[in-house]
């Protein structure tokens, strides 16, 4: 029997299904149920096939768990051990909660990949229609051959240009009063996507909390109520699930700053050939700002920081570059102490190029074979260009 070779994560006895007593097994890749006294499963679902789980409300007499499949079918389990029914159900639910998202992602990814392949390749699409739709072979068989092939030319998918994010996406979420002392925020999937892409910390919170701790609606309600969203005020010490995000953002900003800049011409730190030591010179220009700042000033500088961070994140999300996770301690430290070494090894070429650019007067030269870059929208040409640049 297959179960023997699989890892069983949880066994719950006295679970009824279709009025029959039995045992529920949660395994690494699937969930299964077998009637009492028999050594085979009558119900077995791969986690990847499950769309979501539902549970009976707390006060109900019957303690149940429902699994809804992608196909729309559903299976109910009734936990019937009087003394521990609730505990059993919750144990199963919690485990499923952890397991399902993992498989969900994989399933979605596969589905997306298949979709994309069909869209991009008309020949394949025709083939799919001929073979699968007309039920010559099953979809699994069709893809079994295809997906492995696809992995080879995976680079193709990277050619697709991602759409950037509007810098003002938060501004687009205008709250509307609903007439009875409340505010309504209209969220579209685009906006949510934008939030997730610019603020990975929020995305992480979402993955952690939805749907088990909070419903989607509750999550966003709290988001808009949080100090994180209205961060022009100094944190008042109020704790909500987003206070961590603010900290992470700060860390992210810091690590960006520590990484320093690549272009030596904009590096303000090494601009000055500073030989004036502390205590010399006159600070005629600015009344010194060193001491005690008022609350208002602090909040002002928080806004400024926030804008810089926001813009940097939007830019990074738009250009598809990952700003490295701030909690990645290892990379952070290596970048600080490796700093001077790195700059010694890598800087001269960039620096040379930048300086050459800066001193060049193109119009003082005789024009010979003026270099122009042709606008080439075809992907083929683009990848050639990338090849020649790198």
């Amino acid at each position: 029997m297959a179960a023997l070779s699989e890892e069983v994560l949880l066994v719950v006895k006295r679970v009824r299904q279709r009025k029959q007593d039995g045992t529920l097994y949660l395994m690494a890749e699937r969930i299964a149920w077998g009637p009492e006294g028999k050594d085979r499963f009558t119900v077995s679902h791969l986690y990847a096939d499950i769309r979501c789980q539902k549970i009976s409300p707390d006060g109900k007499a019957k303690i149940q768990l429902q699994l809804v499949l992608h196909t729309g079918e559903s299976t109910n389990f009734h936990f019937s051990n009087e003394s521990t029914a609730l505990k059993d159900r919750d144990a199963a639910k919690d485990l499923l909660q952890q397991l399902l998202p993992k498989f969900k992602k994989r399933a979605n990814k596969e589905l997306e990949e298949k979709n994309r392949m069909l869209q991009e390749d008309p020949v394949l699409f025709q083939l799919y229609k001929d073979l699968v739709v007309s039920q010559v072979i099953s979809a699994e068989e069709f893809w079994a051959n295809r997906l492995s092939v696809n992995n080879v030319d995976h680079t193709l998918s990277n050619n697709k240009q991602e759409v950037g994010i509007s810098a003002a996406f938060l501004a687009d979420i205008r709250p509307q009063t609903d007439g009875c002392n409340g505010l309504r925020y209209n969220l579209t999937s685009d906006i949510i996507e934008s939030v997730f892409r610019t603020y990975p910390a929020v995305k992480q919170k979402y993955a952690e909390n939805v749907p088990h701790n909070l419903t989607e609606k509750e999550f966003w309600t709290r988001f808009f109520q949080s100090h994180y969203f209205h961060r022009d005020r100094i944190s008042t010490g109020l704790q909500d699930i987003f206070s961590e995000c603010a900290k992470q953002d700060e860390k992210g900003l810091k690590s960006m700053v520590i990484q320093g800049v690549k272009n030596p011409l904009v590096d303000l730190l090494s601009l000055e050939d500073k030989t004036l030591h502390e205590g010399y010179g006159s600070n005629l220009m600015v009344p010194s700002t060193s001491t005690a700042k008022t609350v208002k000033e602090n909040s002002n500088s928080a806004i400024i920081k926030r804008f810089n961070h926001h813009s940097a994140m939007v830019l990074a999300a738009g250009s598809g570059k990952k700003i490295d996770a701030p909690n990645d301690q290892a990379s952070e430290t290596s970048s600080t102490d490796g700093n001077s070494r790195d700059s010694d090894v890598f800087q001269p070429p960039i620096k040379k190029v930048r300086i050459q650019e800066a001193i060049e007067y193109e119009d003082l030269h005789m024009e010979n074979g003026r270099k122009t870059v042709a606008l080439n929208l075809k992907t083929g040409g683009f990848s050639d260009l990338v090849g020649s640049l790198s």
Binding site: L170, G260, V261, L268, S282, L284, T289, K296, P348
Partner: protein
């Protein structure tokens, strides 16, 4: 091309030349011929540097006995490196044209931080640390100790250089900072000391202002440079502030506390040495008696900072008896510190002159002027005798001794201001003693006297007559050049009011006005919608910017701006701002477009260029007047009025306008570039402000572009941008703003060129 500038053959490494470059070279040559000083204003981006270099190098070749050396001073490290690269281009062109091998030696010099190749020392972050660490490895007494104890750490690069480096001069060529480092690594020599040694026989030196203007450094580095040198101060619009900074000192309570700790350390060290090596102290005493201040001829590595006063003020006599022994001197310093501490324990602002201060110190603690004058000198001698390695730790006491020497040397041109607290926070005691130089001519005087030609040049030196006055020298040439343009690529506009007709101004009385702030916001919003790529906006001060940004945020203006462009903002933190700047450039580069909010007089406005798409529009919000409540400033204004007959308002306006011009000038870097310059304050329309802008901006400021509303500004800007977006080819420029050799030699053109230079 090869040019004939009044009989001088000049190699110019380009196929074409701008008419103003030719004109500039003419003026420059006349200045050199007259062996005098010059003030030359030429717009940035018209090839000022290459014109300077081409002409002076040609002059050096033609008259090797008249001009032996070119000392080129610039402000920032990137600027220095750019100059050297332009020089390299010139030299390569020369060799190619003549077939001769170039026999010029040209090199850049920078601080140890930028030149050190020692693996450990160079990895330190701050210049001060690098200097200190270097000193602790290379000072002569450390090296002497190593003879008896070879296990002490050493710098092999310096040892190698000391053993071999001075025998063979650096081969001819052009050396940038990186080239020096490469050469140093190859040979195993210290690039910093190699460069410092080589500037003595180099034909061209490029380094920063401080090496010539700060007496503490100039004495070490530039003392032996030949008289027959030409000195160029590029980007010199702020030269007076550099001069003042190099002679001013600030003392806080923290400085005094740290000095106290320093003095204690010194005392303990003296006691220890007395037990072990009393002869050493006696030897020092003997030297001081004989007046042989530097009897052992201080090794180049020993001194970390030289005397803070100018060479001709240093007394050439023996250290007075009262501070000759080490203990007496330490006791003397203690007394001086106690006196300063007492002076900082005040509750009201005190302002006094140096003689008043000296009188007071004599009455209170019986300290004479004479020993004070020797303080800096005496401390250095002591530190050397005690063989102190961590000189950086003694920066506080060094500062105090420098102050003592300065205050007792100069009776004029300085003021002492003691403030018990900051004006904004009167409840928090934070006493500061400012010893402030008010006369920039003091620091630069020796330069004018010593070198035969000093050229002061920048893109913004208007009004030209003020620099000779505040720096107190008589130039033989003063000229301002305009930019010849085939198309008007700059568009200065003065926005005076919002669409609601409310006047727009950063005037103190109305700057908090809601309507003004809103109108400023609307201007930014409108511009963000029509200007492609990058916009740079400058505010008059950091605090002002913070307030405006906050209220724009509250009013939702920034949200709307964000629909058009990303927003980046300068912060007081340089690292953070660098990051924002780079992201700003990235956003301009990838077509997204961005706005940079920045501060006049800040680091960005002084050191960063916004060429081409990095700055299609500059908006100057308000007139960047200096913070006028500062007592130091008030003292300086008073001094200027009494000594140089410059009225307060004239100077303030001049200062504000040069910074405004600097800011808006950042966007134009050449004739193929284009940009809007928006002056958002109605006061710019007044003749006294407008008249102080550089001529090359002023001449494009017509009556039609004054006192506009936001709508009118948008219309004019749209029109301008549409025109500029048309293809611009070289043929359009040729003969007008770009000349071939033949065109240059035509009679008619020479006449036109003669009009470019505008004598002040």
């Amino acid at each position: 091309m090869k040019l004939n500038i009044e009989g001088l053959l000049v190699y110019f490494p380009y196929d074409y030349i701008y008419p103003e470059q030719y004109s500039y070279m003419l003026e420059l040559k006349r200045t050199l011929d007259a062996k005098g000083h010059g003030v030359l204003e030429m717009p940035s981006g018209t090839g000022k540097t290459i014109s300077l270099l081409s002409l002076i190098v040609a002059y050096q070749r033609a008259y090797p006995l008249e001009v032996t050396k070119l000392i080129y001073c610039s402000r920032t490290v990137p600027e220095i490196e750019k100059v050297v690269e332009e020089l390299r281009k010139l030299m390569e062109f020369f060799s190619k044209e003549t077939g001769e091998k170039n026999n010029f030696l040209a090199l850049a010099l920078s601080s140890r931080k930028n030149l050190c190749v020692h693996p450990e020392v160079s990895s330190l972050r701050f210049g001060k640390e690098v200097d200190g660490k270097c000193h602790s490895l290379t000072a002569s007494y450390i090296r002497a100790q190593r003879h008896s104890n070879p296990s002490l750490p050493s710098c092999r690069f310096y040892e190698e250089f000391d053993a071999l480096g001075r025998q063979v001069p650096l081969p001819a060529g052009v050396y940038n900072l990186d080239d020096l480092k490469d050469y140093g690594r190859r040979k195993g020599w210290c690039p910093y000391y190699l460069a410092r040694y080589s500037i003595l026989h180099a034909n061209i030196i490029v380094y920063s202002y401080h090496y010539l203007l700060d007496p503490k450094i100039a004495d070490l580095v530039s003392k032996e440079l030949a008289k027959k040198s030409v000195v160029v101060f590029d980007e010199a619009h702020n030269i007076d502030n550099v001069c003042i900074d190099s002679m001013s000192v600030n003392i806080t309570r923290r400085t005094l506390d740290r000095s106290q700790a320093n003095v204690d350390t010194l005392q303990n060290t003296i006691l220890k040495i007395k037990e072990t090596d009393a002869a050493k102290l006696k030897e020092e005493y003997r030297r001081l008696v004989e007046g042989l201040k530097e009897a052992t001829v201080a090794r180049e590595t020993d001194i970390y900072m030289s005397n803070p006063v100018l060479p001709d003020e240093i007394l050439q006599e023996a250290v007075p008896g009262s501070i000759r022994t080490a203990e007496h001197f330490v006791g003397f310093m203690k007394r001086f510190l106690e006196y300063l501490k007492a002076r900082l324990r005040i509750h009201h602002v005190v302002q006094e002159s140096a003689p008043q201060f000296l009188k007071d110190i004599f009455e209170k603690v019986c300290i004479d002027r004479k020993p004070l004058r020797f303080c800096a000198e005496r401390l250095r001698s002591l530190l050397r005798t005690l063989e102190i390695t961590d000189i950086a730790d003694f920066s506080a006491i060094t500062l105090i001794s420098n102050f003592a020497t300065l205050v007792s040397t100069y009776s004029k041109g300085f003021t002492i201001i003691i403030e018990p607290f900051e004006d904004r926070t009167p409840t928090i005691a934070n006493p500061v003693l400012h010893f402030s130089c008010m006369d920039p001519s003091i620091a630069i005087k020796p330069v004018f006297e010593r070198f035969q030609s000093v050229i002061i040049t920048s893109g913004t030196l208007s009004p030209l007559d003020i620099y000779p006055r505040i720096l107190d020298f008589r130039p033989v040439t003063t000229a301002s050049f305009t930019m010849t343009l085939a198309r008007t690529c700059l568009c200065p506009l003065v926005v005076g009011r919002g669409n609601d007709q409310v006047a727009m101004t950063s005037k103190f009385e109305t700057r908090e006005d809601f309507a003004v702030i809103r109108n400023y916001g609307n201007l930014l919003l409108e511009m963000s919608a029509i200007v492609p790529d990058g916009i740079v906006a400058f505010f008059t001060s950091y605090i002002y910017m913070e307030n405006i940004v906050a209220s724009w945020y509250e009013q939702g203006i920034l949200e709307n701006v964000q629909r058009n462009k990303l927003i980046f903002i300068e912060t007081p933190d340089a690292a953070e701002t660098s990051m924002a700047l780079e992201k700003y450039q990235e956003a301009c580069e990838n077509g997204r477009g961005a706005i940079l909010l920045s501060v006049a007089r800040g680091k960005v406005s002084e050191g960063i260029d916004f060429v081409h798409h990095f700055g299609r529009a500059v908006i100057m919000f308000g007139v960047p007047y200096v913070y006028t409540q500062s007592r130091i400033l008030k003292a300086r204004l008073e001094y200027l009025r009494d000594q140089f007959q410059i009225r307060e308002n004239d100077f303030l306006t001049f200062d504000a306008m040069r910074h405004a011009a600097q800011c808006v000038g950042r966007a134009i870097r050449g004739k193929t570039d284009y940009g809007l310059m928006i002056f958002a304050d109605k006061r710019y329309a007044r003749a006294d402000k407008r008249g102080k802008l550089p001529r090359w901006i002023q001449e494009h400021l017509t009556d039609g572009s004054l006192n506009l509303t936001i709508d009118e500004t948008v219309q004019l800007s749209k029109h301008f941008l549409r025109q500029m977006a048309q293809p611009f080819r070289q043929e359009d420029q040729l003969g007008l703003s770009l000349l071939t050799l033949e065109q240059l030699e035509s009679e008619e053109m020479l006449q036109r060129i003669a009009q470019i230079a505008h004598q002040a």
